[in-house]
Subunit: 407 residues, 2 copies
């Protein structure tokens, strides 16, 4: 028999069962890589910068020549030339000399510091007057200070950010190996569900879940595959899920929320392969009827039928599952601090995810819990985020600081 | 003359000058709409749900028939039928009757509550025994409870989220009007800059900024246009920026960081139209040499040359500018709370953005400030985020709670 699992137990089951899934890699241009998951380490083949460089506009000097200098007693150094941007500084600086270097320019040999132009005077008498001393290394970036040859600049599993692409560009890396996108199949079930292109009759309802799941999958950098709507029939559902298993890595079964349909999702998962159902019920509100199964190395998730519940389960558990498939760690969800705008009672022995609307106030954000019957899409479409209330907590008082996970 | 502006003054200048920019709209399928900016309100043409619906599996009843019922004294109601999923409930419930309804099923006329199946017994004697009373409205979702006909479900300027697409699907809306993507041109300048496909010689450096700006623009849902690298020559830069102004909404001039080049960016902006340069210098570290100009209704930004500074200015100011063009309000950046891992002194009379690396600890995240010379890409490529230190603040002590804006 299955016992209902806690949120953290489900996270552990996801880690244990799906981490290390093999996704093939493909090589793409770095201009298309943002948001993709790095497939192979990129190791720097050179030092960046490749030469000692000035970080200011000024004069390259030997620092010791400037010691003791001040406005009233400037050091007088011979102006021995100028380095131009992009040029190789193929000159030696001699003691008592200064050479002009622009920001980013190469430092002449023997120079060990740069004096900012603001602290110098040039009276066109062939000398530069230094009004402030510098220590060795001042205003310099040394060869390899930014990236050292042999260091990994990006590791497998990293979700590639613009600044990672900056580091790759710095190394002249034009292409990168990324994991292929995780394919997520969506199977919608239920006799009452009709596609949004059709007009519902009687008590039929439109297939909301397929569409927001599609959007959520795209937003998370994965590839959605929609398998349409399936009648509430064991063999038909099994047939669709079987096809989806051949084409996808993760299959989401969504739509039906009646007791009978929940049992069918479970039967379908167990009929398709081993180990079958891993989680049957999560101690969380909303989301209790969630099912998680494993067939060979692939995952099948039975989502609650109510759109708001399905969406929160998607955000909390399915994204975690995708992270496991990608073998990537997200630093965490986007979180906003807010103050609770009203009391919110919660005393049901299971963790609760409460959707909230945020209101900007002079004192930061106020979080208004959205009260509403379960099953309403407006509970999430009007929400800016949600907050977690632990199973031991009896609710949250007005004015209390809370962390809102953005939706 | 221009005086250096504070961060908030620059935000105000952006709002005042660029809000209300006219972006044409296009109509697309909702499956492609996630992350796009809504162009026109969508008003509900119907009530959702379109009928009174049960939110549980159970028996539709007249609540008054259940008053006073308990395990020891159940109410006995005549089983008068069953509503099937998706079917129209074209029946009247009479006093003393119960009709089975599945979750999501339509309620028969006259019924005003549903008793969950868990609180009933069925001994196959033609009656249902109710062990718990219900109040009118219990376990029901009324017509229009979710979305009322005539209400706007999404407004112009909203960045479309998966749950918004759910609300559109609920209404049978298959297409939506979105603003076209803001086009952002990137002009890289500087004699020392070479494309990443070429090997730098002498003290040349690769064009890092164009690539991470491209990625950042894509990530924010805009359309980047790369204009390549331009020599440090007034006429050549002017010619490129002029072309970019014809094709784009916002132009970023990046690369050169020498004093001469900064002046040229300013001259170029002022030579191309009115009102010209609005901001010349921001009281922030890094990012001081940032320039913001306006030519007709378009924006031109001169970014600092150092990659780390350019990236932070992009994240803080350019994304704000894009929001103004889209007339959209982001709820805020992604923020993580952390504790400062070391003392960080800051006492320079201008606001400071400090890049940090986050480390997970038993007590939440620790923020490690990244120390390093300005101009290093590794200051941002190794960073998970940054924190803001106000201009009056003399630094942050170890152990203090901080809010890290994720990069």
């Amino acid at each position: 028999m299955f016992s209902v699992k806690s949120v953290n137990e489900v996270f552990e089951i996801i880690e244990k069962n799906f981490k290390g899934y093999q996704l093939e890699c493909e090589t793409i241009e770095i201009n298309y890589a943002v948001g993709r998951i790095c497939g192979e380490s990129v190791v720097s083949a050179e030092d960046i910068p490749g030469f000692n460089r000035s970080s200011v506009d000024g004069y390259a000097v030997m620092a010791s020549d400037t010691f003791g200098s001040s406005d009233s007693c400037p050091a007088q150094l011979k102006l021995a030339g100028e380095i131009k941007m992009g040029e190789e500084a193929d000159v030696y600086l001699l003691k008592g000399e200064a050479i002009y270097v622009p920001t980013g320019g190469q430092i002449p040999r023997n120079a060990d510091a740069v004096v900012m132009i603001e602290y110098t005077d040039n009276f066109d008498d062939g000398f530069i007057y230094i009004n402030k001393s510098v220590a060795p290394g001042n205003n310099l970036v040394f060869k390899g200070d930014d990236i050292k040859s042999g260091n990994a600049v990006i590791k497998p599993g990293t979700r590639i950010r613009p600044q990672d692409i900056g580091a790759l560009a710095a190394l002249g890396v034009t292409h990168i190996s990324v994991k292929r996108r995780v394919k997520v199949g969506i199977v919608s079930t239920g006799d009452e569900i009709v596609d949004i292109k059709n007009k519902p009759e009687g008590s039929e309802v439109r297939d909301i879940n397929s569409y927001f799941l599609h959007a959520g999958i795209v937003e998370y950098g994965c590839e959605p595959v929609m398998y349409g709507i399936c009648e509430d029939d064991f063999h038909k559902i099994k047939c669709k899920v079987d096809l989806a298993l051949k084409e996808c890595d993760i299959i989401l079964i969504s739509g039906g929320s009646s007791v009978g349909l929940k049992d069918q999702t479970m039967k379908v998962i167990n009929s398709l392969g081993l180990p079958g159902v891993l989680v049957h019920g999560i101690a969380v509100k909303p989301g209790k009827p969630t099912i998680l199964g494993k067939i060979d190395h692939k995952a099948v998730v039975g989502l609650p039928g109510h759109p708001a519940a399905a969406y929160i389960v998607f955000k909390v558990f399915v994204l975690k599952l995708i992270d496991a498939f990608n073998d990537s760690k997200s630093i965490g969800s986007s979180v906003i601090r807010a103050k609770m705008a009203h009391n919110y009672p919660s005393n049901n022995g299971r963790e609760e995810f409460v959707t909230v609307r945020l209101e900007a106030s002079h004192d930061g954000f106020l979080a208004h819990p959205l009260f509403g019957k379960s099953g309403l899409i407006s509970l999430v479409s009007q929400a800016d985020g949600f907050l977690r209330i632990g199973r031991e907590c009896e609710g949250i008082e007005e004015g209390k600081d809370v962390e809102v996970i953005l939706l």
